[in-house]
Structures are given as structure tokens and as C-alpha cells.
């Protein structure tokens, strides 16, 4: 059984999706998906344990030997990402039933879970596989279900957002496909590890350059790096709240994982960072992205928009850490991957709870919520503090690592700018706090009660995790650091 863990990770949710259709009854399907997600979570825990103790796991699909067959290859990096995805999906699913009851028509509930599980499958597949073409297939599985999930949103603008995402996402995925094709043309292999050994021989050719460019641009579209982020804010803002909570914490993370995987493992460090001016480009884009997105967030009135823009700016932090191409820099990126997932899922779940009670998340409707939904608002405040990077929250830990990484290479001005940008986070978080705690509720809004327990439990698990991993950093730092080290040491 344990030998088959890598494939189980992907196949469990994949198989569960059609079963949902048979079960039909929404409540039952919910319970079933929750169980599936818990199973996936336990698998990822086992995987991480196994990787940390006994090193890389290679699993040959159907017994076909790599590099001819498809290989699933789990190292510290993807075991870590798998854990992030499955834990968030489990927590988010707890609140799903209550939330979609208000936001999605009854006859679509079952389909929601089918799509959710397929999307989960896609993400897990992208991360678990060691085959470049397989990445594309799973990428499309997760994207297609994502488009459909977003289109389930109540507001008609969800349709438009979904359509735009579909166009951008497909272009991005096709770019990746072209890149993979060019790589295959040069090396005759699709296995990532095999690629990493064969690419250096042909690294000087223009084709490899072009392949690299296509893959990187395609991924940047997927991970919403400024200025390719335009699809994200509306997609997050108008999707059903649960979907937002799930995607905000996982979808862009998966794309960042892929970027790391391709630049570090497949193309190799020396090619990615010395032959191509990746560092300058990414650092500039990351920095501009942080500032532009944070300042835009300040002027939004839809709170989901605020945090969607904040997500784009947080991606900037990850990209800056990544662009440093140092162990510390990459550690900070991986840490932030984990930490940002914790903060954003907590915040968006809290927003889902507010959506459940109030019906929308316009800033004006937050008036008086500090008193009416104290626990939910407290969760947003803690999440916000974490976004700002206040000590004893996870945000501080990743910021600390990013700063150390920047100073290590003497980027003083960038370090100062990064800190300056956190002040912008203070502004957009505090705008919400002020309205929620200091303004009397709107006269025409009926007073609301605190969110039901089914929301509060996952929200507060995440909030506590935000603080816990901000204090006890052993787990996250150890995993992130050793994953970063292994990427720099022996590639794959």
C-alpha cells in the first residue's frame, strides 16, 4: 500500500469525482468529498514523512520504466506542496456545504463537488508527476474545472470573469505546451529528470531558449505575475466564496511550484539564472507587482477584490525570493507559499462566513460587524496582521527570511522597498478594521448573528495555525529549507 502512495494521492480524488454523481444527494456528496479530502490529506502526510526520512520516492506508472513510462517523483518540494493543497482543501470543504447553500442553486450542488474534486485532482497531479506532458494534462484538468467553478458564482459578472480566465488560462497552458514540445524536439524525452540531464548538452541552442521563454511566460500567466495578473481579481471576487478560499490558497501556489520546478530542476540553475537575465526581470516585476497591486487593493470596495489584489502582491514577494536564486531566497519563497496559503484561506473563509450571513462583502456592509460577528472579524484581523508581517504570525517568518536573503546579496534598497510595501498592507487591512469596529451598522441592514460553527471551526483552525507556525517554525522552516537545499544541491 505505502508503495503506491504517489498514485493514490492523485487517483483517490479522481475516482471520487464520478462517484459523487452517483451519490446525488448534496449532503451525502459533501460528506463523501470531505472524507476523500481527508484521505488525500493523510496520504500527503505519509508521503512527506516518507520523503523526509528516506529521500526521493520514484513511482513508475503501470510499471513502465522511466524515462519511457510516466514517472511520479515525490521529493521534499512537492511533498510539501501536496501537504499544503490537501490540508487547505480539507479545511475549506468543511464549510463548503453551508456556504454553497446560499450561493449556488440547489440542483448544482452535486456538480460543485465533482468540479471541486477534479480541480483538486488536477493540482495534486501537477505537483506529483515527474513528466512534463503530464503536467500539461493535469494543468488543464484543474483549469477547466476552475473555469466552471468560477462560473457558478451568483453575480453575472462571474461568467464574464470565468470567460476571461478561460481565454488567458488557455493561452498560458498552450504556451507551456509549446515549450514542452520544443524541449521534446531537442532531447526526445518528457521525463523531467531525464530532461535535466539532457538539456545542458543542447543548452546553447536557440530552441531551448525559446522553450524556456514559452514555459516561463505561460507559467507567469498562470501564477498571475504582474503584468499578467488581469484575470485574477475578478475571478476571485465573483467566484463562490468557497472556491475563492480554495483557489487563493492553492491555485497560484501550484503555478509557482511549477516555475520553481522548471527553472531549478528541469532547466537547471546555471541555465536559468546565468544565461538568461531572469533575476533582474523577475525582481523588477515582483517589486512593481507588489506596489501596484497593494495600492490598487487600497481603493477597492469589494473586500474580495481587496484580498485578491493582495494575493497578487504576495505573489510578488514569492517571486522576489525566487529571483534571488539563493538557498535562503528560495526558502523564503517556499515558506511564504505555505504561510500565504494559511493567511489567505483563513481570510477568504471568513469572508465566506460574512457572505453567508450578510449576503455580500461590500465594505459598507462591514459596518458594525466587529460587534455582530466578533470571531469572524477577529479571524480577518489576525489574517491581516499576518499579511502585514507582524511578529508572532507566519507572515513575519517569511518576511524575515526574505529580508535575510536580500541582505545576503546586498540588496539593501530592495529590502527597504519590501518593508515599505508592507505598510500598504497596513492601509488596506486597517480600512476594513476601522469600518468593522468603529462604524455603526447600516440602518437598512438587519442585524446578523455570528457565523455558524461549521464556518468557525475551520476558520479558527487556520487562524491558530497562523499563529502557531509563526511561533513554532521548526516544521515549516525545516521542510522549506531542506527542500530548497535539495534543489540547489543535487538537482532532482
Amino acid at each position: 500500500m505505502t508503495a503506491h502512495l504517489p498514485i493514490l494521492q492523485v487517483i483517490i480524488p479522481l475516482m471520487a469525482a464520478p462517484i459523487c454523481l452517483i451519490l446525488k444527494r448534496a449532503k451525502l456528496v459533501w460528506l463523501f468529498s470531505l472524507i476523500v479530502s481527508v484521505l488525500a490529506f493523510s496520504v500527503s502526510v505519509l508521503l512527506l514523512q516518507q520523503v523526509m526520512t528516506s529521500g526521493v520516492i520514484s513511482y513508475e506508472l503501470g510499471g513502465w520504466q522511466a524515462p519511457w513510462g510516466i514517472e511520479y517523483r515525490i521529493d521534499k518540494l512537492n511533498a510539501f506542496v501536496l501537504l499544503i493543497i490537501t490540508s487547505i482543501s480539507t479545511l475549506v470543504l468543511i464549510a463548503a456545504q453551508a456556504s454553497i447553500e446560499k450561493e449556488i442553486p440547489k440542483d448544482k450542488h452535486t456538480l460543485f463537488y465533482v468540479l471541486f474534486l477534479l480541480s483538486l485532482t488536477g493540482m495534486l497531479g501537477i505537483v506529483a508527476t515527474g513528466d512534463a506532458f503530464n503536467v500539461f494534462v493535469f494543468l488543464e484538468i484543474s483549469s477547466l474545472s476552475a473555469y466552471a467553478l468560477i462560473a457558478l458564482g451568483k453575480n453575472r459578472r462571474a461568467l464574464w470573469a470565468s470567460y476571461q480566465y478561460l481565454i488567458m488560462g488557455t493561452i498560458g497552458a498552450t504556451f507551456i505546451l509549446i515549450g514542452i514540445g520544443l524541449m521534446y524536439q531537442m532531447t526526445g524525452t518528457l521525463n523531467m529528470q531525464d530532461l535535466s540531464q539532457r538539456l545542458p548538452e543542447v543548452a546553447a541552442t536557440r530552441t531551448v531558449f525559446v522553450a524556456f521563454a514559452f514555459v516561463t511566460v505561460g507559467l507567469c500567466l498562470k501564477l498571475a505575475l504582474f503584468p499578467l495578473h488581469l484575470w485574477l481579481p475578478n475571478a476571485y471576487a465573483f467566484a463562490p466564496s468557497i472556491v475563492t478560499a480554495f483557489f487563493a490558497a492553492t491555485a497560484t501556489k501550484v503555478a509557482i511550484y511549477l516555475l520553481i520546478r522548471f527553472t531549478f530542476s528541469v532547466f537547471g540553475l546555471s541555465f536559468s539564472f546565468t544565461t538568461i537575465p531572469l533575476q533582474t526581470v523577475f525582481m523588477a516585476l515582483g517589486l512593481i507587482g507588489i506596489f501596484v497591486a497593494s495600492s490598487t487593493a487600497i481603493y477597492q470596495n469589494n473586500i474580495k477584490h481587496v484580498f485578491a489584489y493582495s494575493s497578487i502582491s504576495q505573489i510578488g514577494y514569492m517571486i522576489i525570493g525566487f529571483s534571488l536564486s539563493s538557498v535562503t531566497g528560495l526558502t523564503s519563497t517556499l515558506l511564504h507559499l505555505f504561510n500565504h496559503a494559511l493567511m489567505k484561506s483563513a481570510i477568504f473563509l471568513a469572508l465566506a462566513a460574512i457572505m453567508f450571513r450578510v449576503g455580500n462583502v461590500q465594505l459598507d456592509n462591514f459596518r458594525g460587524l466587529g460587534r455582530q460577528m466578533p470571531l469572524t472579524m477577529a479571524a480577518i484581523v489576525v489574517g491581516g496582521l499576518s499579511l502585514i508581517g507582524v511578529p508572532l504570525t507566519v507572515g513575519f517568518v517569511s518576511k524575515w527570511y526574505l529580508l535575510t536573503a536580500l541582505l545576503e546579496q546586498g540588496w539593501w534598497p530592495i529590502a527597504a522597498l519590501v518593508l515599505l510595501a508592507s505598510i500598504l498592507a497596513v492601509v488596506y487591512v486597517w480600512r476594513i478594521v476601522e469600518v468593522a469596529y468603529f462604524k455603526e451598522p447600516l440602518p437598512d441592514r438587519a442585524p446578523v448573528k455570528e457565523a455558524p460553527l461549521i464556518f468557525l471551526v475551520p476558520i479558527w483552525i487556520l487562524v491558530i495555525a497562523n499563529v502557531y507556525f509563526g511561533i513554532d517554525t521548526r516544521f515549516s522552516v525545516q521542510v522549506a529549507e531542506s527542500a530548497a537545499q535539495s534543489l540547489f544541491g543535487v538537482s532532482l
Partner: protein
Amino acid sequence: MNLSLELMLQLAIIMPFLSTIGMVTVGRFPNARESVTITTCLLLIYLVVQLYLGLSAGESIAAFWWELLPGLSISFAIEPLGMLFALIASFLWLVTTCYAIGYMRGHNEKNQTRFYVCFAIAIGAVMGLAFSANLFTLFIFYEVLTLSTYPLVTHAGSEKAKKGGRTYLGILLFTSIVFFLLAIVSTWFVAGTLDFKPGGIFAKDVDKIVAGILLVLFIFGIGKAAIMPFHRWLPAAMVAPTPVSSLLHAVAVVKAGVFTVLKVCVFIFGIDLLAVLPTTQFLVYLAGASVLLASIVAMRQDNLKARLAYSTVSQLGYVTIGALLASSAGVIGSSMHIAMHAFGKITLFFCAGAILVTLHKSKISEMRGIGLQMPLTMGAFFIASLSIIGVPPTGGTWSKWYLMIATLETEQFVLMVTLVLSSLLNIAYLLPISFHAFFPNLSRFTSANDATCQTQNAQVSLPSFAIKEAPLPSLIAIIVTTLGCLTLFVYPQPLFELASAVLTGRE
């Protein structure tokens, strides 16, 4: 009780935090809630005094909590400067709480439970700050202090309070995140450690330019020390209820700021290094300018609390100057000034609050003759003013004395003139208040508000002579702190011993 000193140290930090649970549970019954608060205060003082005795006996007290990141730990250690700060803070917390009970009830404020809870968290943060063994721990509690005082500043919940709170939080978080955190990370990077060590942690051959830039970052980053141009939060925080202002201005926040400055100067840079850094001179002059300018601005304020706030800005400059002068007299003077100013300023704020609660007056121009209604309060105000100015028989004399000596020793004559000038300004903006209060008919007394006062005089007939003192708890608090000002003049010995032990690290 037979607690080990180590345990007591940790209790002193945790207890205020734990007491909040008690306050929230009995929050509905004001009397029960307030007894929880008072009990905590008393216990805290007991603990701190025990710790002081332990320190005097030569014991080394330290505690280690948790290693957050490799090499970065939350740990505590007691040294004289922190002890001094903790003693003042814990004692004045008790007094302030007494005062607050009278004030909040007299004023019928809302959300009193939240108020006391935040108060307790703030004081817990101060304890953690005072006892922290490294810069990292200090930074954590520094931020906790900022966040926990935000609800206190915006307590009123009005538009004005919100605006003040925004400035307060904005400036404090901005400076602490952009400059202070950057300075800490850089220090960690240059020196490889953040532990406080007597004599500093930088290597002998550290690049003077880099260290100089770091010093600038630190001084600007510690926004709580209110060095111009980052002083705006202090007057902005005046919207808070008076007990909060006194806590902010005399005990917790500003003192945490200058305490941090002292800590950084003495234990991170070390005064030997400080003396040779290229930027020190610039910063000393900046602090000097801050002292003078704030005094001048204070003279132009008609709102009593605003005037006191600017006076605080100016007095904080003294401490920073003392720290930056890099001489032992300077450090002693600064450490003592933390205590002296705390007692003086808290008394002044208490008086301002008492006047507000009983007579509903906040403008200085309206305060003619109130000494006849509130003789005790205004008497206390007079004595506290003397202490701030630095005239016998009050404690302020000693700290100013040492600061003057320090300027002489280091031959900073410009600064000496600045200090003297500022003391004169202190006289000009503080004394008229009590003089006018007691002698409403005194028409010619040099004051910035002369013109306004005279017009007021023409219109308003003299106030009645009926005595109407502040509520009893508040009055007790005022008297206690005033006596403190006087006692510190006669008996400054323990304080002086602590202050002079700062540099040697041990008593």
C-alpha cells in the same frame, strides 16, 4: 511564597496577559473586574520588587522561552536598566489603574472591560520589553505594545479618535516595520547575533559607515521615542481618555521608546563604538532640535493635553541625547530621566484629566482661577511642573544635572545651551498654568497665551471659590505620584545605583 526568581521573571511577564482572561469573565461586574485588575497590579509589584531584591543581591536572572528561528529566541534576562523601567512601569500601572477607575466611572465611559484588558496587555508587553534579553524579543513586545494601545487610543470611537488612531498606528507601524525591522535584520546580518551585551555586539573592525547607517535606522525606527520628524503620533494620540494618555506618555509607550533607544545604544552599539560613528553627531543635533522645537510648539498650544504632549516630545529628546552622548554620565542621566519624567508627566496628565472630569475644561485659557477650586490638584500640578523643569526640591533636578555634566564632559557646548534654553522654555509653558490657576488676577505674567487670557478675563467673571476636587481615587493617584516626585529628590539613591549599574551591566 517560595518561587524561584526565574519563575517570577516569567510570571511578571505572563501575569498581566493571564489577568485579561479573568477580566473578561467577570467583565459584567465592574467591581469584580476592577478587583482583578488591582490584584494583578499588586502581585506584579510584588514580583518586580522581589526581582529587584534578587538583582541587588547579585543574582543573575534569565529565562529562555522558545527559539523561533535558529539563533533567534524569545528569551529574557534582567539587567539594571530593564529593572529600573519595570519598577517604574509596574508601580505607575497601579497608580494609573486607581486613577482610571475614578476617571472612567466619573466619565461613564463605554467598553470599560476592553479598556482594562488592553491596559493589562500593554503593561504585559512593557514587562516583556523591559526584561527582553535580545533585540528580537524586544521587537516582538514593541509591536504588541503598539497594537494593544491602538484600541485605547481610539477608545472614544468618534471620527476624531479614529483619525488620531490612524496617525498613531500609521507612524508607529511605519517606522517600526520600515526602519526598525530593517535595522534589526541588518544587525543580525552584520553582527550575527541580536543578544544584548554590555559594550555592544559589533566587532571592533565593523565598517563605521554601515554601523552609522544602522544607528540612523534605529533612531528613526524607534518611533516611540518620538524624535522629530516622527513625533506626530504623540499629539495625535491625545484623543484617548486621559488615563490612557498618562499611560502612553509617562509610562508605557514613550518610555518603551526611549528605553529601546538606550538599550540599543548601550547594549547593541556600546558607547565606545557610538562615540566614533560618523552619524552620531548628526543624530545628537537632531534630538537637540527636537527638544527645542517641541518646546516652542508646546508654548503655542492652548489645549492642556496637547501642550503636555509636545512637552513629552521635548523631554524624550533629553533621554535620546543622553544615550547618544556616549558617556557614562549621559547614560546615567538618561536612565534617571526615564524615571523622573515618568513621575512628573504622569502627575501632570492626571491633573489634566481631573480638571476635565470635574470642571470639564480642557483649554488652558479657561483655567484661570481653578487653583482655588481644586487646590490639591493644582498644587500637585505645580510640583510636577517643577520636576519637569528640573528645579529642586523635585526629582527632575538629578537627571538634568547628570545630562548637563554629560554635555560638559563630551564638550558639546551647543547642546548644553540647547538644554538650558529648553529648560527656560519649560518654565515659560508650564509655570504660567499653575500661577494663573492660583492667582487669576495676576495680569502681567509672561505667557504665550497672554493675549487670549486677557480677553477671556474681560468677559468671564471670576470663577466661584467653592472647592470641588477630583474624584477620590484620582486624587489619591495624583498625590501619590506627586509625593513620588518629591521623594525622588530626597532619596534618589536606589535609582542612581540602578542607573550607574547600567553600564557595568551588574550591580
